[in-house]
Symmetry: C2
Subunit: 579 residues, 2 copies
């Protein structure tokens, strides 16, 4: 061992001890005849001091032998700040070129250069903390699930391409010419087979792959906490996994989350927050005001199916310019509103609105009351089709919450969204689609509607499906699966999938289910996002050791890349790319 101690552990009680440390040179300062060196490793920084002439540079790897002494000028900000190590001998283990950016809490390097030299960026404390948190969470998850009788079972990575869902990454097989494996988008099929096989409780922290056009903060490979349980109802699944989350919050962050967690129906989430992943760290709920404002001669409202509003606290003093900017903001294609109506409730209680001429102050006051606006608040109103308008209000709400500083990343407000609709009607194709997937079971109490032929009955069937939502982000979700062959047939019928089509697309799993499938259900969490949110960040990139960029490239290793013609030949492949 090149060291007796790490750079993070020496304290005043070690004074007088002879120690050997090894690490990277963070900083060198000369002061009078003394040289001070900050020596860094994963565990911390220890100050070294010597009167000798030492030739070391930034990021050199050195080993020092010396004595722990009490510092004259202590540094209360550092755990090792009470001591320093008086150097006897220095051994240079490896010199280092000067890194292309500073290895500090905040680096001076741009994103591109840091991505190229990821192994240097990973030396910075924020990334070390991020990966340490990820490690801690992974261990907590496994410890909890192991304790609950879950078995970690590895499922294959080289599987079969399916025409459903997102695009698969495929892997040509040399030994089976012309054939391909696919990389899993999730182990969904295998985990359901493990339930058929009687494993009762399964989990895996597992890599998944999706060949999607990458949006910001999506990765072609990502990690899922994947779980499935047999002989359970929705209540059992929710209790088990909020238990898991509770232990993660407690043991990794020291945070207590409510017990039990709040649950909100999908309908309430849409109506009150305009989102199926509501951020409930703050109120500013959406209120429908259609009944209060229609029929008063304002044609925009009169021709809208739905009119809704939020009250933004303390913003009654917004200027014309600020309102105009907000109006432009909601009209951007990302939000898509036609326009924005405001009602200002001044500090003295007087009301001012962009639709003053259509409404009496009393009518506007009724709106303000409905949306729970107090003196000094700004009421923002959107109108149009119901769900679309609610969604726009939801986006506006998040924006205003952010502007008012109501979205503190260190505050955690987890909840379950439940009672999703089972089916979504698509006007264009005039058919129902499964909102979750075609194996999700309807709620037992809604089965009567599920077997009805009326569209309005089918539309109100709720699924035994659930999402875990934290601070406006969906961290995971799942469902109770259909385990009964008749119900599954009915599902295909409702979705307009013929017997032949069902057989072709899902035959393999349907067949397995004929040999005694237990009632089962499960869920999956996006582990990258769990880590980021636990760390108080919105982007996942810092929580992945070696992420890819938005073009799916790893710029550090320069991948993907061309392969030899010989390798192409062995795989019976020809490229059709024109050189």
């Amino acid at each position: 061992m090149y060291r007796s101690n790490t750079c993070g552990e020496l304290r005043i009680s070690d004074a007088g001890r002879k120690v050997t440390l090894a690490g990277w040179v963070q900083k060198v300062r000369k002061l009078g005849g003394m040289t001070f060196i900050d020596l860094r490793d994963r565990y911390g920084i220890t100050q070294l001091v010597t009167e000798q002439a030492v030739e070391v540079g930034r990021e050199w790897v050195i080993q020092v032998v010396g004595e722990v002494v009490e510092r004259q000028a202590k540094n209360a900000k550092m755990p090792t700040g009470d001591i320093e190590v008086k150097i006897d001998t220095v051994t240079v283990l490896n010199k280092a070129q000067t890194p292309p950016f500073t290895i500090e809490e905040v680096s001076d390097g741009g994103e591109d250069i840091r991505a190229k030299y990821r192994y240097l960026d990973l030396r910075r404390a924020p990334l070390q903390r991020a990966l340490a948190l990820r490690h801690r969470l992974a261990q907590e998850i496994r410890t909890y699930l192991d304790g609950q009788g879950f078995m970690e079972i590895e499922t294959p990575y080289l599987i079969k391409s399916t025409p459903e869902g997102a695009r698969d990454f495929v892997v040509p097989s040399r030994m089976n010419p012309g054939e391909f494996y696919a990389l899993p988008q999730s182990p969904q099929t295998f985990k359901q087979l493990l339930m058929v096989a009687g494993y009762d409780r399964y989990f895996q922290i597992v890599r998944c792959f999706r060949d999607e056009d990458l949006r910001a903060d999506r990765q072609p490979e990502f990690t899922q906490i994947d779980c499935e349980m047999s002989f359970v109802e929705q209540e059992d699944v929710l209790n088990t996994f909020e238990g898991m989350m509770r232990s993660m919050f407690k043991n990794a962050l020291g945070v207590d989350i409510p017990n039990p967690l709040p649950r909100m129906s999908w309908y309430d989430a849409m109506d009150n927050y305009g989102s199926d992943k509501p951020d409930v760290r703050f109120g500013m709920k959406i209120h429908e005001i259609t009944d209060l404002v229609q029929g008063c001669g304002f044609s925009v409202f009169d021709s809208s199916a739905y009119i809704g509003a939020i009250a933004v606290e303390g913003c009654a003093e917004y200027t014309r310019k600020q309102i105009d900017e907000l109006t432009e903001w909601v009209k951007r294609p990302q939000v898509g509103a036609k326009g924005l109506i405001y009602i200002k409730v001044a500090a003295d209680g007087s009301i001012k609105s962009s639709v003053d001429k259509f409404y009496t102050p009393e009518q506007l006051k009724a709106v303000a009351e409905r949306v729970e606006a107090k003196a000094g608040d700004l009421v923002l109103v959107l109108c149009g089709a119901k769900r679309k308008t609610q969604t726009q209000l939801g986006v506006l709400r998040i924006e205003m919450g952010g502007r008012l500083g109501l979205r503190d990343p260190k505050v955690f407000a987890p909840l379950w969204i439940v009672d999703f609709p089972l089916l979504e009607w698509d006007d264009e194709t005039q058919r129902f689609y499964a909102m979750h997937h075609p194996f999700t079971a309807p709620k037992p109490e809604h089965e009567k509607w599920f077997y009805s032929d009326k569209k309005e009955d089918l539309e109100r069937v709720c699924a035994n499906a659930y999402d875990f939502v934290l601070n406006g982000t969906e961290l995971g979700g799942g469902s109770i699966r259909i385990h009964n062959a008749d119900m599954q047939s009915r599902m295909f019928e409702v979705l307009g999938i013929s017997k032949e089509d069902a057989e072709y697309k899902f035959g393999f799993i349907i067949n397995a289910f004929k040999f005694g499938a237990p009632p089962h259900g499960g869920l999956a969490f996006g582990f990258d996002r769990v880590c980021a949110l636990f760390g108080g960040q919105e982007t996942i990139r810092d929580y992945i050791a070696f992420p890819k960029n938005n073009q799916g490239r790893d710029v550090m290793i320069d991948s993907p890349s061309k392969i030899d013609q010989e390798q192409m030949d062995e795989l019976f492949l020809q490229s059709t790319v024109k050189e």
Copy 2:
């Protein structure tokens, strides 16, 4: 929850309790007016009894409510054998088709049908035990390594193809036309980068991929326990990982292995066991007898560089036919010996040999003494080039050990093999190759030879490399890496790799090392094989939930398979396979 208890937990102390169980029907017996049902789940089997007429079949999934009662005829072999559950009500949760083979400890199904219906084979107790052991071991490994300060860090699966080593599986990139990712053969590069990045102690239980022509019991995807440490010497790595193995043996099997573990040099392993992965559960060591038998006129020996022998206990009475069969056995291409000489030491101490006419009884007795043959033992002699002959004797030794029942899979004899030669000379290409890989460091005390120009000096340089061997199988291995640029240049020079070549093949990692690489080393274990050996099996297939066959196919999901032309087009690929 569909049950109050599992099928494995009810005991006599539960008698009188009303319980709800759910599971699969293992067996139905009618006896008089009574029906007995064995109900099975992952946790065990519970006997149900009823006077009602019940319609259930093998592998049906049922739920029963009933009372726990003491059995009249107890079954001491079952943990639940003291009780049975008297059925009040039975609910059929799912009917089942009759499975194509029996779901029993030993099934009546052949390998192919069981592979096709893997989800049914996985219901059998031996496979459930195998996967439960695998789960347990994975948890023990992580708990141990976490306790030792290792961080679990996930490395990417979509990486870059390298021209070295075995064949890569490649993944065409749709977003980067004409370019490919490769699936990792191991995270070697990434774990060394993590050391450069200062993560100090890294581990991962990670899938790896090799597109090899599959030999028996090889899988195209396999799982590695992958580890790396900084600021360590070989001694630190060995101590850390025999600690891990010790905790795995203790906590998963209740077995104590020696502390410290035996270590054997590669030279001793080859000389005494004819193998770099010796099975030390039994003796039967190889002894060189060249000096005792050369120069006596037997030309076969006189023209051999090396003559070696083993003493097979109690086999002096082998018949002519048995000896002939053994001779044929060693002459098979898999062993490759030219012939087999024997010396029988009869119970009365008299000596009989196939080379009687060349040697006096005293000379043969000296051989018998050298190989520690006692009265009643059979001495088997092979000759030829030294390492080749030792290897053949090693194979013969394993065979005879097996025949004599000396290879009990429930006996565990782990050890480290150390002091591997750094370099292997290849006569054909007249150059040295790295025995481990070109980043493995020579032992510090052998550096003087490493920098010598003499072939014989270079040949005796030992590496800081080590293998963990259990019962004749290499379960893992690793090395201390070169972290010094000058030493790395020297290594490339010795291997005859030009600067340009080194830059092309290894430039990326060499470059990273310029920014301050710490001394580091590590190792990797083959987790599939670890599980199999811990379970007392030689084949890994039962320890993988969904394995592939020898053609790399998953016959259950029928993968690999053809993909759509549309998908091919999107990937800019054309197949050259003639339809």
